[in-house]
């Protein structure tokens, strides 16, 4: 167990090192990306440029600049933005993270419940019109780009029908903190939740249905049926439990990448100042410290969630537990 833990930690370290070196190198290899002139301002005197170059350490060799940036990001945590001068990027990420959590958490709840329900119903009514309808709906959900759906929802709720009783309750785009106004928080997020969940409902329901159908032919399912258990109990207790292994593997990765900034499009479309929009903003303004911070944040999440998913496997699949015991 301790070995596995150290294995994970070293894996995370190498992932972060690789990603950060890559981001840093690409930034400085981009022609015109030197931030000195942008920080100094238009038509600044050459002396002013020199002052900025020294102040920000751009006159030092690139490896030294890289080490200083990593120190400021991870140790002293006082790395400041080049675009929003003086703005510390680490607190910025911590301020944005709860907003992303609110968005992704709500959407995850919706897509988990809905896709399990859809997958189960489709598996129970396999090859009937119900199964085909549900799976077609899932395919439609997968096919709709999230930014397009978000814009259409905004067009309906904020523009064309905002004055009607149906959508007059929808607040202005943006985020309302849960601690300030729980009802406002819910109202502001309900559409972003649904929009973000649509794609995942499609994917997860189709995967779950396929797994349930495949598992139905397994020996342990036949045994359960031979024991005289009810079909529903077999499906829910034995089938669903095993089918959830794939579901959870995917869920862990998807959830992590969304929390790490993957909900960028939804956040931008709905004006939610989460980590995704921060990433978008950093890329738009070519702000290396913010790009670095958001990328590192995302990488940490993906690696950590991978570890959590591995732990969940142990809980769900007795065969994996057994294999670990043997080790």
């Amino acid at each position: 167990m301790i070995l596995a833990f150290f294995h994970r930690i070293s894996q995370m370290f190498f992932v972060l090192l690789g990603v950060s070196v890559l981001v840093f190198a690409i930034f400085f290899a981009t022609p015109g990306a030197d931030p000195t002139a942008r920080i100094a301002g238009r038509n600044a005197a050459p002396q002013t440029l020199e002052k900025i170059r020294k102040e920000y350490g751009f006159d030092r060799p690139l490896p030294v600049q890289y080490v200083i940036m990593m120190k400021k990001l991870f140790i002293t945590q006082d790395l400041t933005s080049y675009a929003d001068r003086g703005e510390r990027v680490v607190p910025e990420i911590f301020r944005a993270a709860p907003i992303t959590f609110s968005l992704v958490g709500g959407a995850a709840l919706i897509w988990t419940v809905t896709s399990i329900a859809m997958g189960l119903i489709a598996a129970i009514f396999k090859d009937t019109w119900i199964d085909k309808t549900l799976m077609s709906l899932g395919l439609v959900g997968i096919s709709i780009p999230v930014f397009w759906l978000g814009e259409v929802v905004n067009l309906i709720t904020q523009n064309r029908y905002h004055d009607t009783w149906l959508f007059s309750w929808v607040p202005a785009l943006g985020y309302i903190p849960l601690s300030e106004n729980p009802i406002g928080w819910f109202k502001a997020l309900v559409f972003p939740w649904c929009v973000l969940a649509v794609l995942f409902i499609g994917i997860y329901s189709r995967i779950l249905r396929a797994d349930l159908v495949a598992i139905a032919q397994e020996d342990f399912m036949r045994t359960a049926r031979a024991k005289g258990l009810s079909s529903l109990r077999i499906l829910l207790w034995h089938g669903l439990r095993m089918a959830m292994i794939t579901f959870i593997s995917l869920f862990g990765l998807d959830f992590a990448q969304l929390v790490g900034g993957g909900a960028l499009l939804t956040e931008v479309v709905f004006g939610l100042p989460g980590v995704g929009r921060l990433t978008y903003q950093a890329l738009s303004s070519m702000d290396l410290p913010l790009i670095m911070a958001t990328v590192m944040y995302s990488a940490v999440f993906v690696v950590v969630s991978g570890a959590i998913v591995d732990l969940l496997y142990l809980f769900l699949d007795p065969r994996i537990r057994e294999s670990h015991k043997k080790l």
Partner: protein, 573 residues
């Protein structure tokens, strides 16, 4: 010097094709003239919270460093300078008037000395009184914090060169004399700077408390003297402004008292959502320009809430005179003849929002005299008054004479809607002239610095330029003087690399006349404009207007020549 204008539009093709046919432009054009006449409602309404929506905020709040149009607009009612441009609507908001100073100084010693007297009983928003020591410290701080305009605008002050070299030990003790008893401030210059009063009105000369740290304050607001103070700011989410408890109105034209009690700014919506928020009454003012695909909608359904005003700005294609084929005058002239400015107007939103631009000074700038050298039926020797149509025949003749047909040309443009369309149009024009043309779109965040650096060998680049203050020099000298061409630097605003000692002398002559004979100075600037266009270092494209949308409950719109919309004057009813 002028700010580089980054286009804020995205342009759906449908609008490009049919935009000009919409009834909208005429409607809002009529609205403009109602809105820009200064008037105070009989039942002036103080109080309320003005809700503003803005796409994004970048840069620093430090008024001596900030260079974005957004921060300038926000900080106009937060900070003051010794002099300022009048806060009046229309073209009369020029030249400078006294703000924190009692009067506009008369230049002495042939323009080497300026004496001003500081007004009495003015306090910063932290309660500290404004003293002459604060004034001197503020000017020292310009150099100590590395203000972008420290060199270009304030290097004439005696001791400024030493401050540029060693900012940490800047004293300006020979450049600025102060007398706390008489409240007199005397500036001594090393050489006459005819635009020195304009420099004193420029935002980077904001007067701050003398104990303000001498480094970029970033997002920490510094106390100011205006009617508002910034109480809360997060560049990704919001900003809050509240009344400065120590403010009293000392000059209505210089710094009028504000109407709304609070201003709350939300950052992060895209322009489409900003329009919806104002239409729904969720916000009172969208700072950003109304996107082109929503112009028809707001023009027809929200006509009374739309305001349009001319910007001291135009877009251009800059031609690098050191790179083939534009190192050949005939080719530069040929492209000027060939570009279809009518198409450019359509790309910019139609005739109510953009006008064809033929010269290097935009309408509204002192010295502007309309002429068009490169249009059908005209020439530099016999210019027309306005642009008529492209002259492809003449353009092809010039290209043939240059012997450059078939050469490769790459247009470097910022990767965003409207400019990309403009770039494609110019590419087609170059192809029609016989060149192998292509477009290289790069991130708007770095395009401006990229095209300035001669190491990148940019042949032709697209961009726009807007004035820091209404002056011909902020266009002509900054963009085309020998001094502003700095090879191998990311900071060389003379992007064409054009340098003519003769025209430089003409510019200096025009500038020197500003002190004594403004009319003569304007006449000379018009001559410089013509002389430059004969050399065609750029292809001026269009001068644009700004379209803003306000909520129904907002009144008393004042749009000035220099400061654009004064949001402190909006009344909420």
């Amino acid at each position: 010097m002028p700010r580089f204008f980054l286009f804020r539009f995205s342009l759906p093709i449908i609008f490009i094709l049919f935009g000009e046919g919409l009834p909208f432009p005429r409607l809002i054009y009529a609205q403009t003239f109602h809105s820009t006449a200064k008037k105070t409602l009989p039942n002036s309404h103080f109080g309320g919270t003005l809700k503003v929506v803005i796409g994004s905020s970048t840069g620093t709040l430090d008024p001596q460093i900030a260079y974005t149009a957004l921060i300038k607009t926000i900080e106009t009612p937060v900070y003051d300078t010794l002099l300022t441009y009048p806060k009046l609507s229309g073209p009369n908001a020029h030249p400078v008037i006294a703000d924190l100073a009692e009067a506009v100084p008369v230049p002495e010693d042939h323009g080497l000395t300026y004496r001003l007297t500081l007004r009495k009983n003015i306090r910063f928003s932290n309660g500290q009184p404004v003293t002459v020591a604060d004034v001197a410290a503020s000017f020292r701080r310009i150099f100590m914090v590395g203000s972008p305009t420290a060199g270009p605008y304030y290097s004439h002050i005696r001791g400024a060169q030493a401050c540029l070299k060693d900012p940490a030990h800047c004293t300006l003790d020979k450049g600025i004399e102060t007398n706390p008893v008489t409240r007199q401030i005397t500036f001594h210059l090393t050489s006459p700077d005819p635009e020195f009063p304009d420099r004193l009105a420029w935002r980077h000369a904001a007067i701050l408390p003398q104990n303000t740290p001498t480094h970029d304050m970033g997002n920490t607001p510094i106390p100011g003297t205006g009617p508002y103070l910034i109480t809360d700011y997060n560049p990704t989410t919001h900003m809050r402004l509240e009344r400065n408890p120590y403010f009293h109105e000392w000059s209505r034209n210089a710094q009028p008292a504000a109407y709304p009690d609070h201003v709350f700014i939300t950052f992060g919506l895209d322009k489409e959502d900003e329009v919806s928020a104002v239409e729904n009454g969720q916000a009172d003012w969208m700072y950003d320009n109304v996107p082109l695909d929503r112009l028809g909608e707001v023009g027809s359904r929200y006509t009374k809430q739309v305001h349009i005003y001319r910007l001291l700005m135009y877009s251009y294609a800059m031609l690098n005179v050191h790179e083939p084929p534009f190192n050949n005058l005939a080719v530069r002239q040929a492209l000027n003849y060939a570009v279809n400015r009518h198409a450019m107007v359509i790309y910019s939103g139609g005739a109510a929002i953009a006008t064809p631009q033929c010269q290097l000074l935009p309408e509204g700038i002192p010295g502007y005299e309309p002429f068009c050298d490169y249009t059908l039926g005209a020439s530099p020797e016999h210019p027309a008054r306005t642009w008529q149509a492209p002259d492809m025949k003449r353009a092809r003749e010039l290209v043939r004479a240059s012997g450059t047909e078939g050469e490769k040309v790459t247009i470097v443009a910022p990767a965003e809607g409207r400019t990309s369309n403009t770039a494609e149009e110019i590419r087609d024009t170059l192809e029609a002239l016989g060149y192998k043309a292509s477009v290289h779109n790069i991130s708007p965040a770095i395009q401006f610095t990229f095209v300035q650096n001669t190491n990148n060998h940019v042949q032709i680049s697209l961009g726009g330029w807007t004035a820091d203050y209404p002056s011909a020099s902020t266009f002509l000298m900054t963009l085309f003087s020998c001094e502003s061409f700095r090879p191998h630097s990311d900071n060389s605003p003379n992007m064409s690399g054009f340098c003519s000692p003769t025209i430089d002398r003409m510019m200096n002559n025009a500038l020197s006349q500003t002190l004594n004979n403004r009319a003569e100075s304007n006449r000379l600037w018009a001559k410089v404009d013509r002389a430059l266009m004969q050399q065609a270092p750029a292809v001026p494209l269009v001068q644009t207007r700004n379209v803003i949308l306000l909520s129904k409950r907002v009144h008393n719109v004042i749009i000035t020549l220099n400061d654009e919309l004064l949001f402190s004057q909006l009344q909420i009813q």
